[in-house]
């Protein structure tokens, strides 16, 4: 390379640096991530940061269900994530919720490692991952290996009730809207016994708030249990760790003593 060549390279480098700096200065907030087809890119590992899994409604701290575990299992306080601060149960359902609450340390399906249903899966204290392709958006959860597949715009109805429901998606601008039906009546909304019937219909809205958070809303409708639709909302946060991978939390083993312990060799049943 000649001296003249060096000079020219120097000029080009300077222009490049200047362009890069100018670019930084002009975009203080990075644009939303987009997929190749121009939709909001929701790919990533996400997690709620609240105490809704203990109780959707406002609550102070409380003792946990296992006294020997002390502070580890105590209930931490939290604000309500329910719009209006109350769940509109019909009277019979309000009584059932109280009964569930009284038996929460034995009856919560989470204890048994059952799939948590929707929306609960999204605000359990464990991460989940969204794997987004154009027609299919996979939601894979750490807890219980739960999984649901959002199929964009399909016409098929749920052929049978299920734990995680039947999710059909559509885009409204930047927002992914998921219509979820086909639930069974076995899941709870939280550890406080909030519940639903198999008529539950959930409409979820995922709206990106910058690159690293999603505004999440879910509206619940269930004429057997609620007098009107009601809504929860919360941010979901992106896991930003370099090694943010969703790990398998197969909890079946840890529920077996609760489910089958009474049938063990040497237990009361044999006497």
């Amino acid at each position: 390379m000649t001296d003249c060549g060096y000079a020219r390279t120097g000029t080009i480098a300077a222009v490049l640096v200047w362009t890069a700096l100018a670019g930084l200065a002009q975009t203080p907030t990075p644009a939303l991530k987009r997929t190749v087809d121009g939709k909001s890119d929701l790919n990533g590992v996400w997690q709620a940061m609240n105490t809704a899994n203990w109780d959707l409604l406002a609550h102070g701290s409380a003792p946990g269900g296992v006294s020997s575990l002390g502070a580890i299992i105590a209930v931490p306080p939290g604000e309500s994530i329910v719009e209006g601060g109350a769940i509109p149960y019909v009277p019979a359902a309000a009584a059932k919720k109280q009964e569930n609450f009284a038996h929460r340390w034995t009856d919560d399906p989470e204890i048994k490692c059952f799939m948590p249903g929707v929306p609960r899966a999204n605000y359990m204290p464990y991460p989940f991952q969204i794997v987004q392709s154009a027609n299919t958006i996979l939601f894979t959860y750490s807890f219980a290996g739960a999984v649901r597949t959002v199929r964009m715009g399909i016409k098929e109805q749920s052929p049978v009730d299920s734990w995680m429901g039947w999710s059909v998606g559509r885009w409204e601008g930047n927002t992914l809207v998921v219509d979820v039906t086909g639930f069974n009546d076995q899941t709870w909304f939280d550890r406080a016994g909030d519940f639903h019937s198999d008529k539950l219909h959930v409409v979820e809205r995922y709206t990106p708030r910058g690159r690293d958070a999603i505004d999440y809303e879910a509206t619940m409708e269930d004429p057997e249990v609620f007098s009107r639709p009601w809504k929860i909302s919360m941010p979901l946060y992106r896991h930003l760790e370099k090694n943010a991978h969703l790990l398998e939390f197969q909890c079946i083993e840890y529920s077996e003593e609760v489910l089958y312990g009474h049938l063990r060799h040497g237990k009361g049943e044999t006497k």
């Binding site: 958006i137 996979l138 398998e248 197969q250 083993e253 063990r264 060799h265 049943e269």
Partner: protein, 342 residues
């Protein structure tokens, strides 16, 4: 450039172009993702009646001819129909289900191979190491001894196995794994897999007990070996048009055909055309097998959707098995009490 080098260059260029043209012709048939890699996404099935190891009457024969394949499929169906004619409680229990329940399909893989195992070329899994044989024999002996006493339960191999608690039972009965996740081999039913692919991640939803394969393509290393998982710890990478998945960190109980906690699995997915995908897996586990071995299956595009298989949530079977074992103990205790009073 000398004339000699010029001619070498021309020859090389021509060769490269011919190869590129041939590749392009082969590759133009397969769907591609926006990033140019083969598109593996969609719902696939690997249901098949191809034997895992080569049957002795097919020794030395790697492939069926078209006629032989058709004959094999016919005779397989005939045997199933005859088996379904066996009546009685015993047959119902030991054969588990009648054949309406199985979903192995009626066809061999379109490759017409005579076994899933392709290496060693004899179609047989290499022998276990002496040490692994001893380990497995010791486990079997402990289980056998326990079942000299009452309180055991049948396993799906027709043998009695301990049933003192749920952890004694096979991982299948506990809904932990049906052994068709890593590697993804065909099994009794629910042989359906949904692949969702992005530029830096592959998710595979395994319909059987909804196990998930989560495969980052981000070049990150495996986790420390202290972290163990039923589906292992997978990392993927593209080698040309082949997706290579490297998996380690298995739970020891997730053993595949005698493998142990050192199982290192290497899988290769190659999309062949609109409807077919070649899947090869290599089992690398020097403490369990005398040498590495490889199997091959052909995944076929499925027309149906995937559905939720909630196994654990409805596992009444486990309660039944344990309650049956306890009833067996009570019965034996009653018999011995009666003979003691005589």
């Amino acid at each position: 450039m000398t004339a000699r080098w010029k001619s070498v260059f021309i020859v090389l260029a021509a060769t490269a172009m011919t190869a590129a043209a041939q590749n392009a012709a082969a590759q133009s048939k397969i769907p591609r993702a926006a990033d140019g890699h083969p598109d593996l996404s969609g719902i696939w099935t690997n249901a098949s009646i191809t034997p895992f190891e080569r049957p002795s009457d097919l020794a030395g024969k790697e492939f069926f001819t078209e006629q032989e394949a058709a004959a094999y499929e016919r005779s397989h169906q005939r045997n199933l129909d005859q088996r379904d004619g066996i009546k009685g409680t015993n047959a119902d229990v030991t054969l588990a289900y009648n054949d309406a329940w199985w979903d192995r399909g009626t066809r061999l893989f379109t490759s017409r191979r005579t076994s899933v195992v392709i290496d060693p070329p004899d179609g047989h899994i290499p022998p276990l190491t002496e040490n692994r044989k001893r380990q497995l024999a010791a486990i079997a002996e402990t289980r056998r001894k326990r079942c000299e006493q009452p309180g055991c339960g049948l396993e799906n191999n027709g043998q009695l196995g301990p049933a003192d608690g749920p952890e004694d039972r096979p991982v299948m009965e506990r809904c932990l794994s049906f052994g068709n996740v890593a590697p993804m081999v065909s099994t009794a039913y629910n042989n359906n897999y949904e692949i969702v692919q992005t530029q830096d991640f592959i998710g595979i939803d395994v319909e059987m007990v909804h196990q998930m394969r989560r495969i980052p393509l981000d070049g990150s290393p495996h986790m420390a070996s202290s972290a163990r998982f039923w589906a292992g710890d997978s990392r993927g990478r593209w080698e040309g048009d082949t997706l290579v998945i490297d998996t380690t960190n298995f739970r020891p109980e997730a053993a595949f055909r005698g493998s142990d906690e050192n199982l290192h699995l290497i899988e290769r997915l190659i999309r062949l055309d609109d409807d077919n995908m070649r899947y090869q897996f290599t089992v690398d586990d020097p403490t369990a097998f005398a040498k590495r071995w490889t199997g091959e299956l052909i995944f076929v595009k499925s027309k149906g959707l995937l559905f939720e298989y909630a196994c654990h949530e409805g596992n009444e079977g486990m309660s039944g098995i344990l309650a049956g074992a306890r009833a067996d103990e009570r019965k034996a205790a009653a018999v011995s009490a009666k003979s003691a009073t005589r």
